[in-house]
Subunit: 310 residues, 2 copies
């Protein structure tokens, strides 16, 4: 077990909501931006942990889409939160599962004693890139941010029991924003090309690939850890779409075993998993000692599973 433990958590949401039927989505106003959300979530996490930024020795931004092409998003968060310090800042990205990948990866230097308290921030403002013509994604995404602080202690009962990541690039183009970086430069933006700069999600393709690949990986992962789905105290899935509960059912996870925030909050891309994690903690649906599985599929197609003893 990688003996890391949760020290604090926080979230941030835009002021404005929009509604599609009974679905609520959070969308930034012109006076809000990704950096504000990221910094607010991070400050809330520090407050919740009763820490100041000086207690942190690594700042990780784990978001799908960054704030600027250069520098990395973590450096811009650092500027708001930690200017004057020399805390290292870096970005880790696997799109929607960036938070899980970041926690997974950074737990190794954490338990090795390289870092002692790490702050992971996921922030997204996907609403800027939604295509009104693609109802499925246009009505699904929310903006938001979540931050969590993890520490390390040898005598901790908490920790990462196991984790796994797989990428199946058959799905590399199932979720995309194709234009905006080096493949298609912003200088080509026009009324004709503008949809290339927008979110494009082939929901059926993702669901079909996920349903084909996930059950096997899920059962392999549980078996490897001597568990069945019933042994999981709680599951925090990426809030991918309204089909998520069906995927959970297919995996043998009961409704009371997982958190479903799709109607209330939609899909916040990378911020979904930590946001749902924070909500589960706030609502005391999980508590100390629980075995909690973070899992999700991301553009790539990438899947992460991380089993945490809280």
């Amino acid at each position: 077990m990688r003996k890391v433990f949760l020290q604090g958590y926080g979230t941030a949401l835009p002021k404005q909501t929009v509604h599609f039927g009974k679905q609520t989505r959070y969308r930034i106003s012109p006076d809000e931006n990704q950096l504000d959300l990221a910094v607010q979530a991070a400050r809330n996490a520090l407050t919740n942990a009763k820490m100041t930024v000086e207690d942190i020795d690594c700042i990780v931004s784990a978001s799908a889409v960054g704030i600027q092409p250069i520098p990395c998003t973590a450096a811009l968060i650092h500027e708001q939160l930690a200017k004057g310090t020399d805390i290292p800042a870096l970005d880790i990205n696997t799109t929607c599962t960036s938070f899980i990948t970041a926690l997974d990866l950074i737990s190794y230097p954490l338990v090795a004693g390289r870092y002692h308290n790490i702050l992971i921030v996921s922030s997204e403002v996907g609403s800027l890139a939604l295509n009104p013509k693609q109802k499925e994604s246009f009505e699904l995404f929310s903006d938001g941010a979540a931050a969590m602080i993890f520490g390390q202690r040898q005598d901790s009962q908490s920790g990462i029991i196991d984790s796994i990541q797989k990428t199946w690039s058959e799905g590399a183009h199932a979720t995309e924003i194709r234009a905006g970086l080096s493949a298609v430069h912003p200088k080509t933006y026009s009324e004709v090309t503008k949809e290339e700069f927008m979110f494009d999600m082939k929901g059926k393709q993702i669901l079909s690939l996920s349903v084909k690949k996930l059950p096997q990986l899920f059962h392999h992962f549980l078996t490897k850890n001597g568990m069945t789905a019933a042994d999981l105290d709680f599951v925090i899935p990426h809030q991918a779409s309204r089909a998520m509960p069906l995927v959970m059912e297919k995996l043998g996870i009961k409704p009371q075993q997982f958190i479903d925030l799709i109607s209330e909050y939609g899909n916040m891309v990378s911020a979904s998993v930590p946001f749902a994690f924070c909500q589960a903690l706030r609502k005391k649906r999980i508590q100390k000692g629980d075995k909690v599985l973070l899992m999700g599929t991301a553009a790539g197609l990438t899947t992460n599973m991380l089993l945490l003893q809280l």
Copy 2:
């Protein structure tokens, strides 16, 4: 010592060069792109290592600027190189020092046995975003890619002796591409705003901050490892600018101790460090058993140092 060892390396360059006085720069033609360079470098590294992609169990893209906003760059490299496999793919980004950060970070799960052979690919086509009005950066950058494969073996004499990363966000705006992602969406691109989508480097500010911060960190890092600059067999610095040799001199590193490719190849952003590493290996300026320091400053301002016993 984190017992990782180099298994293979490869580079890729665009066909076309441009010249500024005696300075040679590599720039992609319309029929070349970042993905091609990344994949070519990765294939060359696999060949050099006498491996196939099935031997790799983690693909890391360590680039400053990605190919698409979604998915992450590693997933797109995966599609070209490893489609049909389930090798995990992820991006790690600290701009110019992304390669060092990636090697540093991923070495922990590598030595923990989570991964066995990891491929790190850095690729950049900065030429797409250069501002002809800013001579300093316009004449400095090259496009290119470099890939390296590292393995893990307990009985290895090779490994990472120590590493350090610091971010000083006083320099967060000293090197930027401000527009293109969430801070300034491509829809705002126009003749008036176009420079916001271009590279903007305040060379003097970077140099002044580096010269203020680097020597102290460098000596702290060496002292911590019971070394002086003279004990380093070789230094592979980020090929930041034509001022790089002056910084080396200030740190007490002799001309024969470091590799300087600025005139021949320019600054390839994240690809510079691994490209220079590959050149030093090819030219046999470093060999088995050598103590080699990888170091660089990146937008952020971030500094990385990683001491490797080859």
